[in-house]
Amino acid sequence: MGARCYHRFVPAPRSPYYTEDHEALRSTVRRFVEREVVPHIDQWERDGALPRALYLAAGEIGLLGLGFPEEYGGTPGDQFAQFVATEELCRAGSGGLVASLMSHGIGMPPVARLGSPQLKAQVLPPVLRGEKIAALAITEPSGGSDVANLRTRARLDGDHWVVDGSKTLITSGMQADYITTAVRTGGEGMEGVSLLVIPGDAPGLSRTPLQKMGWWCSDTATLYFEDCRVPVGNLVGMVNQGFAAIMSNFNGERLGIAAVAIGMAQVCYDEAVAYARQRETFGRPLITRQVIRHKLVDMAQDIGATRAYLEAIAWRVDRGQWPIAEVCMLKNQATQCLEHCAKEAVQILGGAGYVLGAKVERIYRETKVLSIGGGAEEIMKDLASRQLGL
C-alpha cells in the first residue's frame, strides 16, 4: 500500500510525457523500495554499504537492466522510464542507495555501446542480474573533470594491460566486481586515453574506503593499481579513443544526477508538508502559518520548474539529441533546487530535521555531493558557456 500522496502537487499521470507503462514501472519500483529498502536503509547507512542481496532483488525485477539491450538481459526504456525509476528510488531518502545500487548506470553504458561482443557477453548479464557490481573510475587524486590530463597509466605486456596509478571517490569502489576505468595508454592529452574494464579480483588492485559527509551507504573508495594486470580483451572500444566515450558518458551521468536532485527535492517537500500538517505550534498546525506555506510554495515552484526543464531535455535526448549546454545548466538548476528544498525542509522540521534518522537531515548532508560530483557547478558553467559560444 502506498503512502498517502494527496499533497503531491504534480500528478504525473496527467503529463503528456508518461504512459501507462511508465506508471506500471513507477508502481513496481515504489513497491520494491517500500518492501526491500525502506525497512533496512537506516541500518545500511550505518553499515556503510548495501548488501549484495539487494542487487539480486533489483536484478530480479529488471530494475538494473533498464535501458540496456535485451540480448544481454536488459529492458529497453526511454529517459522518462529512467527518471521514474530514479524518482521512486529517491523516496527512500538516501542518495547513497541510488548512487551505489545504480552505479552500473555510469559504469556499464560505455561497455554496452563500445565493448566487444565477448566483453559484453561476459560482463553485462551478471551485472544486470545483480550478481556482479559495476563501477566507473575516472577521478584521480590529482583531478576529476580534467580527464585529458589523467595520470593512471596502462602499458601493453603480451596479452595483458598493466595498470599503475590510482583513482579516488569511486562510487561502489569497495564492492565493485567490474570497474570501467579511464587510463592513459598513449601520449599526453585527450588522444591518449582509453577505457578498461578492470575485474575486482585483478592482481595488483587494492582499495581503501572513504568516510564521507553523506551517501553513507554507498561504499566509496580510493583504488590503487600496482602492476595490475588486465586481459587485453577488457579494453572498451578502440585504444586511445576513450576520451569521447567518457565525455559522452558524462552527459548521461549529469542527467541522472539532475533526476536524483529532483527526486530528493520532492521528498523534502513531501516530508515538510507532512510535518507541517501534523506539528502544532502555539495551538495551531504549522501549515496554517503563512510563512510556512510560502516556503512550501517556493519549494513546489522550484521543483515544478526544474522537473519541466528535465522533461523537456529528456524528450530531446529520446529523439537522439544531446544538448550539452542544457544538460549542464539543468544539472546546476536541479542541484540548486535541491539545496533550496533541503535547507527549507530542515528549517520547517526544526529540531526534528536535525536529528539523525530524519530523511531531510540525510538529504541535507547529501546536497553537496550532487553539486560537486559528475562535474562541479563551476565546471558545468564553463562547459555551458563554451557550448553556447560565449
Partner: protein
C-alpha cells in the same frame, strides 16, 4: 488446468474521500488494482508455475468487469505473469454483486475453467459476495478466505486452510471449484502445487511486475465481451440509502497502568 482470476479496479484507498451529493466523488480518483485480487493472482501463479522448471501446470486468465478502455489493472496483472485476459466491457460501478457474479460465472463456463480464484473482497465496497455467488450460480464447491492451499493433482482436488474465528478450518474440495483468498495466502509457504518443492520459499507478498513483464503485458491476448454477448442484462437491486464519512477519530490517551486502562474501558469507553 485453467484458472480464472477475478480482478477489479478500485479508487485508490490511500486517497482522501471526496463527496458529491449522496455519493463518493470518484471523478478525479486514481484507480488502482484491488489488493486482494493481487493475492488471488499470486495464488494462481504459484499454482501454475513449476519452480526450477519451465513447464506451466495451468493457464492463468485474469477477468475483469470494467470499461474496456480502463484496463490498466488488467495490464498490471498480465505484467505480473498472468497468461491472458478477459474484459467484460461495462460500467461495473452501476452493477450489484449478483450481476458481476453472473458475468464471471458465464466467462468461467465459456472458457471451460477448472478453478475460480477471487480476492475475498474488494477494498472499496467490501462486499465479500462475488466468489460465493459465482459458486452458487456455477453449482460448484467453494472454500472462502483461504489462507493456505495445496493442490493434489492426482486426486484433482484442493486442500484449503480457512482462517475462521476459532482457528483454522481445513477443507478438501474437488475441482472444479471456487476459492476466495485472504491476505495470508501470500506468505512464503502458503501455496503448494505438488510440483514445486514443498519447502520452496516464495517472497513474502504478491510478486512485483518485472520490467520485462511490463513490456510483455501489452503483447498478451485480451478478449473483450459485452454483457449482452454473455447473455446477462446489467442491473442493480441495491439502492444506496446514504453515504457519509466515518466519524473523525478522537485523540488517544496515554495511561500509566493496565489497571487504569481497564477502568477506562469500563467507565469511559463502556466496552467491557
Amino acid at each position: 488446468m485453467k484458472i480464472l482470476v477475478t480482478v477489479k479496479r478500485i479508487p485508490d484507498p490511500d486517497e482522501s474521500l471526496k463527496f458529491a451529493g449522496n455519493a463518493i466523488d470518484t471523478s478525479s480518483s486514481k484507480w488502482v488494482a484491488n489488493a486482494f485480487d493481487e493475492y488471488a493472482v499470486e495464488t494462481a501463479l504459484r499454482m501454475a508455475e513449476h519452480i526450477g522448471n519451465k513447464d506451466r501446470l495451468a493457464e492463468v486468465i485474469v477477468c475483469s468487469v470494467c470499461p474496456k478502455d480502463k484496463r490498466q489493472h488488467v495490464t498490471q496483472f498480465l505484467a505480473m505473469g498472468a497468461d491472458r485476459g478477459v474484459i467484460v466491457d461495462a460500467d461495473e460501478t452501476a452493477m450489484d454483486s449478483q450481476t458481476v457474479a453472473k458475468l464471471v460465472a458465464e466467462v468461467f463456463r465459456r472458457e471451460g475453467c477448472d478453478l475460480l480464484v477471487s480476492g475475498k473482497l474488494s477494498q472499496d465496497s467490501e462486499g465479500n459476495e462475488v466468489a460465493q455467488r459465482a459458486a452458487g450460480l456455477l453449482d460448484l464447491p467453494q472454500a472462502s478466505f483461504a489462507a493456505t492451499l495445496r493442490w493434489d493433482r492426482g486426486a484433482n482436488a484442493l486442500t484449503v486452510g480457512r482462517e475462521v474465528d476459532d482457528g483454522v478450518e481445513t477443507k478438501t474440495i474437488p475441482l472444479p471449484a471456487v476459492v476466495s483468498v485472504d491476505l495470508r495466502i501470500v506468505l512464503p509457504h502458503s501455496v503448494k502445487n505438488g510440483a514445486t518443492a514443498d519447502d520452496h520459499k516464495y517472497s513474502d507478498g504478491a510478486r512485483l511486475a518485472s520490467l520485462r513483464g511490463i513490456t510483455m503485458a501489452k503483447r498478451k491476448k485480451v478478449d473483450v465481451h459485452t454483457p449482452a454477448a454473455l447473455g446477462v442484462t446489467p442491473s442493480s437491486h441495491v439502492a444506496v440509502a446514504g453515504v457519509t464519512a466515518p466519524e473523525k477519530r478522537a485523540a488517544g490517551q496515554i495511561v500509566d497502568s493496565a489497571q487504569t486502562l481497564v477502568n477506562k474501558l469500563i467507565t469511559e469507553a463502556k466496552v467491557l
